[in-house]
């Protein structure tokens, strides 16, 4: 019954003290804005990641040689769930010695041992950036050797010519699939011209001639996080053929295993980890890390959680300070209005009515502060999401909870001043100058 009156009373009182009200709200605004911004960014990130996850195979397991962190050098049994993966290792590390790499023998042993769980192995070997020439025309691209398993996780569409045959792999032929862009550059718009032609290419140290088998377009190139976009547009050769060109010894720092339908990729990743453990037991600097999409997802969530926790703590402090500010200003307001309180009591206001009046005022301050904070938070969150390249999606339940939360701050921190007002002796209050 009194609620509507109390709300209009509170708004009137705020309007007559605009500057004071705004300064009081500042802590609440900052706290709520921080919460909403992080929720928006987190929500956008989570949504984008889970959308990406739906496109890629959940059966993929990645195996990579990774540097041990300082703590791991002492105790390998402590496994962090993120597995200490450093993405810089994806590239051939110059500090890696021969004995640090995974060898072809290890991989074939692994396939023998875990064959019933493994569907395919995707190994790639990069020759790096190359310059190409055909009939006086030149282009630049990169060249990669890929095992048959590469085509299991990376869907390619042949636009002209044909796919590799088994012979290309077994006979280590210098054949290649070239991306559409490269074909257009060298052979003009009619990309079917490319088929069967021989292209010369040179890396930093080697020269070779390859026969174009077909022109392809990458439909999906695995996980965006694991496959650099440059890889989508590189020339693909059979793995062995590429390794022959730079006389690579069959050493790998990274490859991918695809679990068989019905096998648990997480279980497989554990088995693979166990398989490589003996090889690296005495290696002080490197070890093998095995990750699945689940663990990647875990890693991402963990990162997100860390950020969220940090910002939440900051927000909580801001809200606490804001709440104390509200309490302070309400105590001032109650003292200023002592005579008004006395008059209201003389006119028949019950203690509970006085308490409600001041509680509503504190809650309105916090609610308005919360609304302003939500607006700033969404703006900040959308901005940050765009900077990171994700479509922003503000969290609606988050906004509702934030507003309810800011009102409850008003309730908690407004209670003491409101109670002080309610408990005033009407005689003393009326006499107050």
């Amino acid at each position: 019954m009194l609620l509507a009156e109390n709300i209009s009373l509170a708004i009137k009182s705020l309007i007559s003290n605009k500057m004071r009200a705004l300064l009081t709200m500042l802590g609440i605004i900052i706290g709520i804005a921080a919460v909403i911004a992080i929720l928006t960014v987190g929500n956008s990130l989570t949504k984008t990641v889970s959308d990406t996850m739906q496109q890629v195979g959940a059966n993929d397991v990645y195996i990579m040689v990774t540097e041990r962190s300082d703590s791991e050098k002492v105790d390998e049994s402590k496994k962090s769930s993120v597995d200490g993966v450093q993405y810089g290792i994806l590239k051939k590390s110059s500090t890696m010695r021969d004995e640090d790499y995974i060898t072809s023998d290890m991989i074939s042993d692994m396939c023998d041992e875990l064959g019933e769980d493994i569907y395919a192995v995707n190994i790639t070997h990069s020759l790096g950036d190359v310059s190409l020439s055909y009939n006086g025309k030149s282009a630049s691209s990169s060249v990669r050797g890929a095992s048959v398993g590469y085509f299991v996780t990376n869907e390619v569409e042949i636009l002209a010519g044909s796919m590799f045959s088994v012979n290309d792999f077994s006979q280590e032929k210098n054949t290649a699939l070239i991306p559409e862009a490269v074909a257009k550059e060298l052979f003009g718009d009619d990309i079917s011209e490319a088929t069967g032609k021989q292209i010369e290419f040179s890396t930093k140290t080697e020269n070779a001639v390859i026969t174009v088998l077909g022109v392809y377009e990458a439909k999906s190139a695995g996980n965006g996080m694991m496959t650099m976009t440059a890889m989508k547009n590189s020339i693909i050769m059979p793995l062995r053929s590429a390794m022959n060109i730079d006389r690579s010894k069959g050493q790998y720092s990274y490859f991918q295993v695809i679990a068989k339908e019905g096998s648990d990729p997480i279980e497989l990743s554990e088995k693979i980890k166990e398989f490589y453990r003996p090889y690296y037991r005495n290696n002080e600097r490197f070890r093998v890390a095995v990750i699945t999409y689940d663990s990647l997802l875990d890693m991402l969530y963990q990162l997100l959680n860390t950020i969220t926790t940090a910002i939440s703590i900051i927000a909580a402090i801001a809200l606490l300070v804001g709440g104390i500010g509200v309490m302070n200003i309400m105590l001032v307001s109650v003292t200023e209005r002592t005579r008004e309180i006395g008059t209201r009591k003389a006119l028949g206001a019950k203690n509970s009515s006085i308490r409600a009046q001041f509680l509503v005022e504190a809650m309105i301050i916090c609610l308005i502060g919360g609304i302003i904070g939500v607006i700033f938070g969404i703006a900040g969150g959308v901005f940050a999401s765009h900077l990171m390249g994700y479509p922003a999606s503000p969290s609606i339940p988050g906004i509702i909870i934030a507003l309810l939360f800011s009102m409850s701050i008003g309730l908690i921190f407004g209670y003491l001043p409101a109670n002080k007002a309610a408990k005033m002796n009407p005689i003393d209050a009326l006499r107050y100058e």
Partner: protein
């Protein structure tokens, strides 16, 4: 005639049980009949304010019996005292005590708001009351835009809001010049004569008291008639 106010042997002490225990009212008995216009006169320090607080249900007596319109005020709880003040007593203060930043109309509505009267009814009655004190044209004005006499007229309209059993006026002309003070006193006389309102006027001025039908004097916590 029925008595509206009935005080029997009212004693009020402060600092009870402490070395500086102080007795302000020494067993006061007073009966005010319905429709009476009584003035309580006394110099400052006589216990006049304490007596007003007891009559106004702002304070409870240490001992003695107080009945207001048949209600036992002496033994009432806090919330009951609020209701008594709301429904049975209309306060008029020397300093007007209008709620600032709130229109004259809303000020008059306030006691009815606390009584839980619906908005439309409140508004209607508040307008009638303002018309009665010839303040209807200034209903939308804020207290700070009104003169002292105008404020006091709004305050009287507010005191009448819930049609109380008594009007308790504490030095209502104390802050006004003679002319506007006269105007305010005329309103009290009109309320007393036309609406048969019981009015208790508290003042230090014997002059003002002579206007009322009955004068009660308080000195050192004792009543003389």
């Amino acid at each position: 005639m029925d008595s509206i106010i009935k005080l029997e042997n009212i004693i009020k002490r402060y600092y009870i049980g402490q070395p500086n225990e102080l007795e302000i009212l020494h067993g006061i008995s007073l009966e005010v009949k319905k429709g009476e216009f009584v003035s309580i006169v006394g110099p400052s320090g006589s216990g006049k304010s304490t007596l007003m607080n007891v009559i106004g249900a702002l304070d409870k007596p240490t001992s003695g019996i107080y009945h207001l319109d048949g209600i036992d005020v002496g033994n009432a709880e806090d919330n009951e005292l609020s209701d008594i003040r709301n429904l049975k007593i209309g306060f008029v203060f020397q300093t007007y005590n209008l709620i600032s930043k709130t229109t004259a109309l809303s000020n008059v509505e306030l006691p009815m708001l606390y009584a839980g009267i619906p908005r439309a009814k409140r508004r209607e009655r508040a307008k009638e009351l303002l018309a009665m004190v010839e303040m209807d044209e200034r209903a939308k004005h804020l207290p700070e835009e009104l003169s002292g006499g105008q404020k006091q007229r709004v305050a009287i309209a507010r005191a009448m809001a819930n049609d109380p059993a008594i009007i308790l006026a504490d030095e209502p002309t104390g802050a006004l010049d003679t002319k506007t003070g006269r105007l305010v006193m005329d309103i009290f006389h009109r309320l007393n004569e036309e609406q048969k309102k019981t009015i208790v006027l508290i003042t230090h001025s014997p002059e003002l008291a002579t206007e009322t039908e009955r004068i009660v004097t308080i000195r050192d916590g004792v009543l003389y008639e």
